[in-house]
Symmetry: C2
Subunit: 297 residues, 2 copies
C-alpha cells in the first residue's frame, strides 16, 4: 500500500483494516455505544465487509437489503442471494424491501416512465426506503459501505460542476434531525475500493462480483478512472484530497441556509417541500402507466 508505505501479511492486514475503521468511527463520532446500527447491504464487497466488521466489533446490527427490480443479467436475484446467505452465515437479521411492491415497478421502468436517469431514481428510492426501514426497526444509525473511491468521485463531480450545495454537505457523518432523518455514517470512507476488496477477500466473505448493469454509463465511473490515474502518479492523493476538503468544507456552508424540513404530506417522511420527491416519482410513474395502458406492477 504505497499511500501508507505498508506491506502486510493476511492477519496483520485484517487487524490493520479493523483498527483503522475503528479509528474513523471514533474520529467522526459515528456510533455511540448504546446505538443500534442498520447496515445497508447490496450483496457487494463494501456493504458485506462493513456488516461483517461492525458485527465483529460487537455492535448491535441489522442488515437492510433493497430488491431494486433489475432483472438484467440476473443482477437483483444474484445480489439478494448473496445478502441472504451472508445474513444466515453471521446469524443476523436481514430486512428486505422490494421496489416493485413499494413503488409499483422496478427501477428501470420507473426511470423510463418518469424520464429520470436510472441512477438518480435508484438513489432517491434507496434514501427513502433506507430511512423508513431505520425508523420502522427503531434503529439510530444507518451505515453504508461507501469507500474513498466513492467519496472522492462524488466530491470530484461536485467540484467540477461547482455544486456548492453538495460541497457544503458531503461528510462521513450526516447527523440525525428532529423530524425523523436518521444519522448516516460511512465507516469505510478512508479506504480505497481495492483495500475493501482485499479485506472482504481475506475475511472469506462471499460477495457478488457483478456490477450493477446500469452503472456502466455512470459519470462517477469516469471520475473514478481519473482519480485512479492521479492516485497512481501520486500515492495518497485521494486521501489528501478528501481530508483537505473536509478541513475546508466550512467555506461552502457560510452562505447557505439549511432548508427547513417537515413531514411529507403523503408519506410523512422528512422533506423540504410539500410532497417529497419519492412520492412525486411514484405518482408520476403510476400516471404514466395509466396513460400508456400498461399498469405498473
Amino acid at each position: 500500500m504505497p499511500a501508507h508505505r505498508l506491506s502486510l501479511c493476511k492477519s496483520h492486514y485484517i487487524q490493520w483494516f479493523e483498527t483503522y475503521t475503528r479509528r474513523a468511527i471514533d474520529k467522526f463520532e459515528m456510533i455511540q455505544t448504546h446505538e443500534k446500527v442498520m447496515v445497508a447491504v447490496s450483496g457487494g464487497k463494501d456493504s458485506l465487509a462493513l456488516w461483517h466488521l461492525l458485527a465483529g466489533l460487537g455492535y448491535e446490527t441489522v442488515g437492510f437489503y433493497i430488491e431494486l427490480g433489475i432483472p438484467d443479467q440476473g443482477y437483483s436475484s444474484n445480489s439478494q442471494l448473496k445478502a441472504q446467505s451472508f445474513a444466515e452465515k453471521i446469524g443476523q437479521k436481514l430486512v428486505i424491501a422490494r421496489v416493485e411492491e413499494e413503488m409499483g415497478a422496478g427501477i428501470p421502468e420507473i426511470s423510463k416512465s418518469t424520464y429520470r436517469k436510472t441512477c438518480s431514481v435508484c438513489g432517491l428510492s434507496k434514501r427513502h426506503l433506507m430511512n423508513r426501514a431505520a425508523m420502522d426497526e427503531g434503529v439510530d444509525v444507518l451505515a453504508t459501505g461507501h469507500n474513498l473511491d466513492d467519496e472522492t468521485a462524488s466530491l470530484f463531480g461536485n467540484m467540477i460542476n461547482w455544486d456548492i450545495g453538495y460541497l457544503g454537505k458531503q461528510s462521513p457523518v450526516l447527523a440525525e434531525n428532529a423530524v425523523g432523518l436518521r444519522k448516516k455514517i460511512k465507516p469505510f470512507c478512508y479506504f480505497t475500493e481495492k483495500q475493501v476488496a482485499m479485506y472482504a477477500l481475506l475475511s472469506g466473505i462471499d460477495y457478488l462480483q457483478q456490477d450493477c448493469p446500469h452503472s456502466v454509463t455512470a459519470t462517477s465511473l469516469r471520475y473514478k478512472e481519473i482519480l485512479n490515474q492521479m492516485e497512481h502518479q501520486s500515492p495518497g492523493m485521494k486521501r489528501r484530497f478528501f481530508d483537505r476538503y473536509l478541513q475546508n468544507q466550512g467555506l461552502f456552508q457560510a452562505e447557505q441556509t439549511q432548508p427547513e424540513l417537515r413531514p411529507c404530506a403523503r408519506c410523512g417522511m422528512p422533506t423540504s417541500i410539500e410532497v417529497c420527491s419519492y412520492c412525486k416519482t411514484v405518482e408520476r410513474a403510476k400516471c404514466h402507466s395509466r396513460e400508456s395502458g400498461n399498469p405498473v406492477g
Copy 2:
C-alpha cells in the same frame, strides 16, 4: 467547435475569434482606451497570436521577450528568433531581457543550484522581469497569452490540492496596485489551446511549435490531459468549469486577508516580505556558485 455548436470558414473564424476576444476584454474591463499594453511573448502560438490581435485592434503595444537560457534542443535561440521576426513583421518594438545577465545564470542552472523546480524558478523570474519591464517602459497593462487550457489546468491543480490562497486569486484580470504591480490580463482565457492554434495558423503567424524541453514533466500537462478527456466527453465543460469558478470565487476570499505589499529591500519591487523571492533566489544561486567554485554567469 462542438462546445459552441459552430462550424466556420477561415474568414468567419478569424472574425469570430477577434469579436470573442474583444468581448472578453470588455467583460473583464481589461484595457482602457488610453492604456498601453505590454505583451509577454515567448515565440509560441498563444503569445504571438495575442500580440497580432491586440495590435490589429489598434491598441498601443510593445512586446517583451525573456531569453531564459535554455540551450536544450536550441529552445531559447529558436524562440527568440521567432519573437524577433514577428516583431519586425508587424513593425512593433520588442524589449528583450536575458535571464543569464539578470540572474547570473540560465533557468536550468539556477534551478539546480537553488534546489527549486525548473518551472517554479522560471515562473518566479518571469513575473519579476515582466513587471520590471512594464515599469521601465511606462506601460499600464501586462498581457499574457494564457488560454482556457492553461487556466483550467491551474484551477484544477489548485482544487485537487485545496490551495485556498490561489483559489481566491486566479482571475482573467489582476488589478494593478499602489506599490508598482502592473495590471495583468489574459484576453485568451476563454479559448482552448486548439482554438488559439487555429487562429494563429489561419492568420499566417510563424510561431515556434517546439515545447519547452522542461515542460514534459510538468504536472499541468497531466491535468490538461485529464481536462481534455472530460471536454471530449462533455463539450463546453472547460468553459463551464472556469465560469462557475469565477462566479463562486468569493467563497475563497472571505477568510483571507491580503498581505500588505511594500518595496523589496534589494530591488524595490513589490513584495510581502523583507527581501523578495526573486532576489533571494539570485542570492542563493550566487552563493552556491561561489561555494562550488563555478562562478555563475
